[in-house]
Amino acid sequence: MSRLRFVFAALVAFALGTATAASPSSQSIRLPDFQTVQLDNGVTLLLAPRKDVPMVAATVLVRGGSLADPAGKEGTADLLAELLSKGAGDRDALAFAQTVDGAGGSLGFGSSSEAITANAQFLSRDSGLMLSLLADALLRPKMDAAEFDKLRKHAIDGIAAAKDGDPRRLIGTYSDAWLFRGHPYGRPDSGDETSLATITLGDLQAFRQQQMGGDRLIISIAGDFDPASVTAQVRKDFGGWGKASGALPQVSAKARESGRRVLLVDKPGATQTYFALANIGSQHGDPARAAQDLVQTAFGGRFTSMLNTELRVKSGLTYGARSSIARLRQPGDASITSFTKTESTKAAIDLAIATLDRLHQAGLDNTTLQSAKHYIAGQFPPSLETAPQLAGAIAWLALYGDCRDYIDGYLGQVAAATPEQVAAARTVFPDSRDLVLVAIGDAAKIRGVMRGYGPLTEMKITDPRFSPTP
């Protein structure tokens, strides 16, 4: 069993949004030439051929996603996405899986907040087969009732199992739910045990009819393939898909929270407290993106960041401390997350808050700023190395309507960010007086500590939602 020295789940949390400046060679990193084909029914096809290894990657996005989930039925889009491959075309669920696995391929469906997603990778020789499977799944899913029942039960049981696992995997879900309480961004993409139980096959069929169609479809293909034959097949397979009947979900921005409120998620017997401090941060297209990413890198986005230096390197309170910025179409969260043994909960949260205060009071010195610029520059190229990375990058460009300069120009923006811009960008992280706090831990031992940070609400980790009952 491998034990990593440090796990930075999203080190360059934003590969797409990150890039750089240091060396001349890294500034030349840019997307390869790719071709965009618009089909008459609205399908956007993006083609990025490259000879590297004999494999092909496809990213498929259907605009809309989990934000279109009906209230109280969170998880609808995600369940639908999973059901698409549980039997499609003339294959039942087992035959479909056997065909994908038999070719040595991978094909995974899911839903993010803004799109239903499919990611496929396969050997070049199987391009025709795998594209036809994608078409079957999207256009001709069987939507079998027995398969639906299994999936829904599986999803509910999976959440319970996850709650017995490493709480690092859940703290973000609870934190989003608490920060965005009552707002669509607070709803878990994969649903919770309560919402999943209310979803019916009819809900999925209605969602599919309203939210899926050729006009919402983006197909991005990268790797070792023949563009002409792939284009012809996509026209044949997807060119006849009609339009979605419903409107795309619309979301308004949530204002930044004032003051503090605290959620304590009781996990009796836990030997460690997992915590998040968050507020509203930035959004996709923010002109301050590059400057904010420099702040994020220096504050909590790398091993020598201010947070990791204080909480891990200097004090040994934790295995890891980091910050992150989520950019959706509307502002997402800017957060700090870490964990520490139960006894040092107060020391670690206090130190995280003090470090946040220091960011705002002292800012970044020039040495740190230059280091952050070089760091982003050095870590960006590997985020565009493989066919799946390229397919994903250009698909999401299309989803947001960005031009390629969103990626190609990024390193230049990072290099050009002035100290003044970076100083101003610190406000992407909240003032410590305005924080939404979440802790997962042994409530009997840390209740008093958590109460000290603001008005306290409690729930149990076994509660079937990720937020307290309204």
Binding site: S25, G104, Q121, A161, D166, R302, T304, T309, A377, M459
Partner: protein, 462 residues
């Protein structure tokens, strides 16, 4: 205190020079684009260096494989290899604690490291313009590591925090640790890589120094550099920064051979904070990573568990709906390892039923073997895996280093697809019959013991 005083290192280093001219890879690698450009050589101090130039992106990787892991530990110093993984970042006689990371990140690089039963692997990812900086940093810590007592104490807390998350607060982590300690009677594979808590609390600086001197020597390491580099420059930098490091006595070989298991071992782990039971089996595979039978073992676990159409997923998750997740994987290093089979149950799940299902499925593959279609599928899955690894400089460095340390020759990495093609259905069946026996396994059950509690929500309790 310096472990290797500079004067000593320099004196010994005067005789250090390239023992062999760089040699290109033979034609077996020609099927992988760019593999013909691989070169390697071994320095006089025993450090093997492999370079794969690849100019797709202006980046490079520097991977150091040290042949040390938890199998090299004993009671009192369990977890030391992993702790050492941390300490290799914490200062030298030339650089203060933290300077390694600060210097690397300022040059655009990042790093990490991992420890297993068998290896400790240090990984650097950086713009190729930082190549010399990386050599300087890595050469320094291989030669001049320091052990500041304050840093040792602080890092102890870090490692303990890591243990709490990955083992103590994680049902699967807890169960696997207990099963590993039960499955091995004699071999040090019984030691958890993260270490037992009391050992984490009691390592001494002298333990670290001795461990460093023994294992972190050039003759106990393999270096792989892949990416946007010129091999001649890599070797020149290696001569400057690494060739002067002294060879150390060869570590004492691990000679313990696990005696044959004489019957099933069963353990039950009870957790008050869990909702979901787990059933797991650990079989002695009898196969190490360098064994000719290793591809057969890999195909067996692939057929059992990889993909939605795999046997275990179909039977336990889809057909019987008795488990949320079911899987299998094999651990294999310098010595034969364990083949793990597991099923995660829903809350209230019936562990007896799941055991019976697992038993039936495992008996079936031993009794009736695998179909031609299943074998083809498994080979194709392994072929895709091979090409995915070859698609990145990170994967290339990892593959070359792994084959070099476990198989004695990085070139064997390129023979993997052919090795999988050569495995027959009969060999898979025979291996299943030999390994998947109840007498050869440790059975682990994780049982939640908490009574169901009602939802309690306290709003605004302050």
């Amino acid at each position: 205190m310096r472990l290797l005083p500079l004067a000593c290192a320099f004196a010994l280093g005067t005789a250090a020079f390239a023992a062999h001219a760089a040699t290109p890879a033979p034609s077996i690698s020609a099927s992988v684009p760019g593999s013909g450009a691989i070169v390697s050589k071994t320095l006089a101090n025993g450090l093997t260096i492999i370079v794969w130039p690849d100019h797709d992106i202006p980046s490079a990787n520097y991977y150091t494989f040290y042949k040390v892991g938890s199998r090299n530990e004993h009671a009192g110093i369990t977890g030391l290899a992993h702790f050492f993984e941390h300490m290799m970042f914490n200062g030298t006689t030339r650089r203060k604690p933290g300077e390694f990371d600060r210097t690397m990140e300022a040059a655009g690089g990042s790093n990490n490291a991992s420890t297993s039963n068998d290896l400790t692997i240090y990984t650097d990812w950086f713009p190729s313009s930082a190549l010399e900086t990386i050599f300087d940093l890595e050469g320094d810590r291989m030669a001049n590591l320091a052990f500041d007592p304050k840093v040792v104490e602080s890092e102890r807390g870090v490692v303990y925090s890591e243990r709490r998350s990955s083992v103590d607060n994680d049902s699967m982590g807890t169960l696997m640790e207990q099963m590993q300690a039960t499955a091995w009677l004699a071999h040090p594979y019984q030691i958890p890589t993260i270490g037992w808590p009391s050992d984490i609390e009691h390592w001494k600086s002298d333990d670290l120094r001795q461990f460093f001197k023994t294992y972190y020597a050039p003759n106990n390491a393999v270096l792989v550099v892949a990416g946007d580099v010129d091999p001649a420059q890599v070797f020149q930098l290696a001569d400057t920064y690494l060739a002067t490091l002294p060879r150390q006595p060869e570590p004492t070989p691990i000679t313990t051979v696990e005696p044959e298991q004489l019957g099933e071992r069963r353990i039950v782990v009870e957790r008050a904070d869990a909702q979901s039971p787990i059933v797991a089996y650990a079989f002695h595979s009898g196969i190490g990573a360098g064994s000719k039978d290793y591809p057969t073992l890999e195909l067996l676990t692939t057929i059992l568990a990889q993909g939605q159409s795999s046997r275990l997923h179909q039977r336990l998750v889809e057909k019987e709906q008795a488990a949320v997740d079911a899987g299998a994987f094999a651990e294999a290093g310098f010595d034969p390892g364990l083949l793990w089979v597991y099923a995660a149950l829903p809350p209230g799940g019936d562990t007896g039923k799941v055991e019976a299902l697992l038993d039936d499925e495992l008996a079936k593959i031993a009794r009736t073997g695998v179909s031609a279609a299943e074998l083809d599928k498994a080979r194709n899955l392994k072929l895709s895996e091979f090409w995915r690894e070859m698609a990145t400089i990170n994967g290339k460095a990892s593959a070359l280093g792994s084959y070099q340390v476990f198989n004695g020759d990085y070139r064997k990495a390129f023979a993997a697809p052919a090795a999988f093609e050569a495995v027959t259905a009969a060999r898979i069946q025979a291996l299943a019959a030999k390994v998947l026996r109840v007498q050869n396994r440790t059975t682990g059950l994780l049982k939640p013991t908490a009574a169901a509690e009602t939802t309690i929500t306290k709003e605004g309790a302050r």
